[in-house]
């Protein structure tokens, strides 16, 4: 392997909303290697790479390129110094051709005219040179995802990239496309390019990469030779729990059925078959966890159960009533609460006060409104009570929510959804990106709800949380239930990792036990 080509030292990045994405990270790669960067969602991989590409600015830390300190204020600087990035979401203009996308910003000209011919020639030459087959004249909106990926890589190469960052490039590819991509990446390596490969698909890392660095909760855990570690080792290092937040959970005998998901199949707006014949149920006083790498159908389960999306095939019943054709309000009136994943998009109206935000569930309830006027006294009392009960740090309930920290905004959401003592609650990433104090508080409250008989559907990318809180557990992989566990406390993270990453799958019979 070559000598060190790039080093990032002491990188710390805190987002304006207070989330610490990177904590004093050091990371280095050698010339001509394919280096994997692995870790769970939210571990800080993408942030670190965005800093390297000049898309984000770190508060602290330095970047050295060939032992020379560099600062990348914007992507242009990074491109000029030979760093290229292929983003998870394609940075392509759909109505333009492949060649036009390729040369955007550095267009060849003939007089006043954009020189289409030269652009197409340049594209064709480059694609031949790296044996990436693309049709320069094709419109980007007409080409396959795999080809789009190639165009992205070629785009970076066209701008002279020697170090190539690929952010989860295989997430959108078919196995065949992935295979082809790997061949090409190995070829690039032979040509002397250095590649940083972000992924959480361990078999791919094993197959493709030379070394790997594991990230967890904003820091690097270590760098290893790929040949020295097994997939199981990596999985353990990735998901291993460092902070153990113990929650005291009394055993509760589950009561009657609250939620029945029956043979649900769903095609999402991108035409992806996101759920395939999913069935499970949930009972009073029980927490059912959903584990899985993001994008394996969890999002769709939540959307369907809450009424945000319409059921296409199969059925969902809450307390014995089918929710087909029911509005979100109808579903809420069945006694359902929902802590949404994206608290800023769905959870709050950020420019409004804490009070306005905590009342949005029950504003039309006769407790809080007369025929015409709202009952201000009751609403004020409710807001004040929730601020105290849920330890929401704010000066008063009239403060706009956007002036609160992330953890306190989440407490506003939780307070609203919990105080009604729902029969059924969907908690989607309830503690993502918030401080430890808030996490502990919210988990405790959740367990308290369960003890009062609430049925809880918990979706979380935080394995520690899922294992700690859940009674029963399902694991999602590629839109299917890959595993069902009767007792979540008996599973090890290693085992869970294997199912999440698709290395193992239970039999249909075992999975069928999810319906009781």
């Amino acid at each position: 392997m070559g000598k060190e080509v790039l080093a990032m030292k002491g990188i710390t990045k805190v987002y304006p909303n207070g989330i610490v994405a990177n904590k004093d990270i050091s990371f280095s790669i050698d010339e001509g290697e394919i280096h994997a960067l692995v870790g769970e969602n939210g571990a800080g991989k993408s942030t670190l790479m965005k800093i390297l590409f000049g898309l984000e600015k770190a508060q602290e830390g330095k970047i050295y390129l060939r032992e020379q300190e560099v600062t990348f204020a914007n992507p242009q600087h990074a491109i000029e110094r030979g760093v290229g990035m292929v983003h998870q979401h394609f940075m392509l203009v759909p109505s333009l051709t492949v060649a036009e996308n390729m040369v955007l910003g550095v267009e060849p000209k003939k007089g006043l005219k954009f020189d289409t011919k030269t652009a197409e020639e340049q594209t064709a030459n480059l694609s031949k040179q790296y044996s990436f087959e693309v049709d320069p004249a094709a419109k980007v909106s007409d080409i396959t995802v795999g080809t789009k990926q190639k165009v992205e890589i070629l785009k970076a190469l066209f701008r002279g990239a020697k170090i190539l960052i690929l952010d989860e490039p295989t997430a959108v590819l078919t196995p065949q496309e992935t295979k082809e991509l790997f061949k090409q990446l190995k070829f690039l390596k032979e040509k002397g390019h250095t590649i940083i490969f972000i992924s959480h698909k361990l078999n791919e890392v094993k197959e493709l990469c030379d070394r790997l660095t594991i990230m967890r909760r904003g820091t690097t855990i270590g760098t290893y030779q790929v040949s020295d570690v097994s997939e199981e080792d990596i999985s353990r290092l990735m998901v291993g729990r460092d902070v153990i937040l113990k929650v005291d959970k009394k055993p509760v005998a589950p009561g009657k059925n609250i939620l029945n998901v029956k043979d649900v199949t769903y095609v999402n707006e991108f035409g992806k078959n996101a759920l395939k014949n999913v069935s499970f149920n949930l009972r009073e006083g029980e927490i059912l966890g959903i584990a899985g790498v993001e994008g394996n159908g969890q999002r769709e389960i939540v959307d369907l159960v809450t009424g945000l999306q319409k059921i296409q095939h199969g059925d969902v019943e809450i307390k014995g009533e089918s929710i087909k054709g029911k509005s979100i309000r109808d579903i809420r009136d069945l006694g359902t609460s929902h802590v949404p994943e994206d608290r800023m998009l769905y959870g709050v109206a950020e420019t409004e006060s804490v009070k306005a935000n905590v009342m949005s569930y029950k504003y039309s309830d006769s407790t809080y409104t007369n025929k015409v006027m709202q009952k201000s006294k009751e609403i004020d009392a409710l807001a004040d009570r929730l601020v105290v009960d849920y330890l929401i740090k704010c000066n008063n309930a009239d403060q706009p929510v956007k002036m609160l920290s992330g953890g306190n905004i989440q407490k506003v959401v939780v307070a609203r959804e919990f105080f009604v003592e729902p029969d059924f609650i969907i908690c989607d990433q309830p503690t993502r990106g918030i401080d430890v104090g808030a996490i502990e508080f919210i988990r405790k409250e959740l367990v308290a709800l369960r003890e009062k008989g609430t049925a809880v559907l918990l979706n979380s990318a935080d394995l520690n949380e899922v294992l700690e809180l859940s009674d029963r557990l399902i694991v999602m992989h590629e839109g299917e239930i890959a595993a069902f566990f009767e007792d979540a406390s008996k599973i090890t993270e290693e085992e869970l990792g294997l199912y999440m990453l698709g290395l193992k799958k239970q039999s249909a019979e075992e999975i069928g036990r999810a319906v009781q």
Binding site: T306, L308, S327, I328, R329, I331, R332, D333, H338, P340, L345, Y346, G347, V348, A349, E350, T351, E352, A356, M359, S360, Y361, Y363, S364, T369, V372, M373, Q374, S376, C394, N395, N396, D398, Q399, M403
Partner: protein, 360 residues
């Protein structure tokens, strides 16, 4: 922490005043450069409206329609719909009240009430149209409401020409309104009519509606974050339609009141422009009904001042157009004086932080 809110709120006030001041400054400069009698012009502009009781009466008279359209636009914009139908709704409202006034014989107390209520209802119906076009077919509200305004104008002229026109009147105008239909004057020496009281009542009611009822709450939440409203179980479709109808009702009501309060015949030759003025008032008031009177007063004062100036000196009253534009842009500009605002937020947050640390 409470200090932080107060400082920010105070800052927002200062910022609005600065915008107004800057706009007036530009106006003064324009007067200085273009007028041969700048001192007289300035005096007439600034002091004119309070120089005579009658002039101040003019300010109040002009405020009445501005209050209604200002409220109308505030409610519509609160639902995050750029519906400019107030202009057309005001116009058809005025026409509707003229119809009731000239074609029906009702007792004095009831006649104007029926007239303005009909005006409001017509306004509510037309205001719904752009919202439905948007919700059903995704047609841009702004463009469709602008076009609809012209259609309503021509429809109105047709109606006037074929059903209300007084052939004896020289111009195209309706029959004369009977006295029973006209609104009572309330300030002797001016033309200020009972519509001002209705307008003030409307301000109070709409304020209560927007901030003290669940329907106002729904409108505000839909306007602030539609996804959140949907997630909370609100019927976004219905909320938007209702908000536009309430706005249209107010604008139509304004048209009816203006017509029966200030005129003896319907004789608009074009759209009167109060809908656009409503946009200015709503922006100045930041869509808050309680602040609409402030914006309406400011605009009315400016207009009357400019009018007096143009009658007594060589400066055109259209100067107001420039002042309005500058004020809107600066008041709505997020980055106007934003450095100062950010510093306040930063300083106060830091102070909070150290206070928290000390407390620990």
């Amino acid at each position: 922490m409470i200090k932080k809110l107060d400082r920010l709120r105070r800052f927002e006030m200062i910022r609005t005043l600065a915008a107004v001041g800057l706009a007036l400054g530009i106006a003064f400069l324009l007067i200085l450069f273009t007028s041969e009698q700048p001192i007289d012009a300035l005096r007439a502009f600034i002091l004119g409206p309070i120089s005579k009781f009658r002039y101040f009466g003019n300010v109040l008279e002009l405020m009445i329609p501005l209050l209604f359209t200002g409220l109308a636009v505030s409610v519509m914009f609160s639902a995050n719909q750029f519906n400019l139908i107030s202009e057309g709704a005001f116009f058809v409202g005025a026409l509707g009240s003229s119809w009731i006034a000239t074609n029906f014989l009702l007792p004095a107390g009831i006649h104007p009430v029926v007239g303005i209520l009909v005006a409001g209802l017509i306004g509510a119906v037309v205001a719904m149209i752009p919202a439905i076009l948007k919700l059903k077919w995704n047609a841009d509200v702004l463009v469709s409401s602008l076009m609809l305004n012209y259609i309503l104008m021509f429809l109105g002229f047709y109606f006037l020409n074929y059903h209300l026109r007084d052939p004896q009147a020289g111009d195209m105008a309706s029959f004369k309104f009977p006295d029973s239909a006209r609104l009572m004057k309330i300030l002797p020496g001016t033309r200020v009519h009972i519509g001002l009281i209705v307008a003030i009542l409307a301000v109070i009611l709409i304020y209560l509606f927007m901030f003290k009822t669940r329907w106002g709450y729904e409108i505000r939440m839909v306007g602030k974050n539609e996804s959140f409203a949907k997630y909370s179980g609100m019927n976004v479709f219905r909320v938007i339609i209702v908000s536009q109808m309430v706005g249209g009702f107010l604008a139509g009501l304004g048209g009816g009141i203006e017509m029966l309060g200030m005129y003896t015949r319907f004789k608009y030759k074009t759209l009167p422009g109060f809908g656009w003025d409503g946009v200015i008032v709503a922006i100045l008031a930041k869509n808050n009904p309680a602040l609409v009177p402030v914006g309406a007063f400011f605009l009315a004062y400016l207009r009357i001042g400019a009018d007096i100036m143009s009658r007594s000196t060589d400066v055109s009253s259209q100067l107001v157009g420039i002042i309005q534009g500058v004020v809107i842009i600066l008041v709505a500009a997020e980055h106007f004086m934003s450095k100062r605002k950010n510093r306040i937020i930063y300083e106060e947050s830091m102070a909070d932080l150290s206070a928290v640390k000390e407390a620990k």
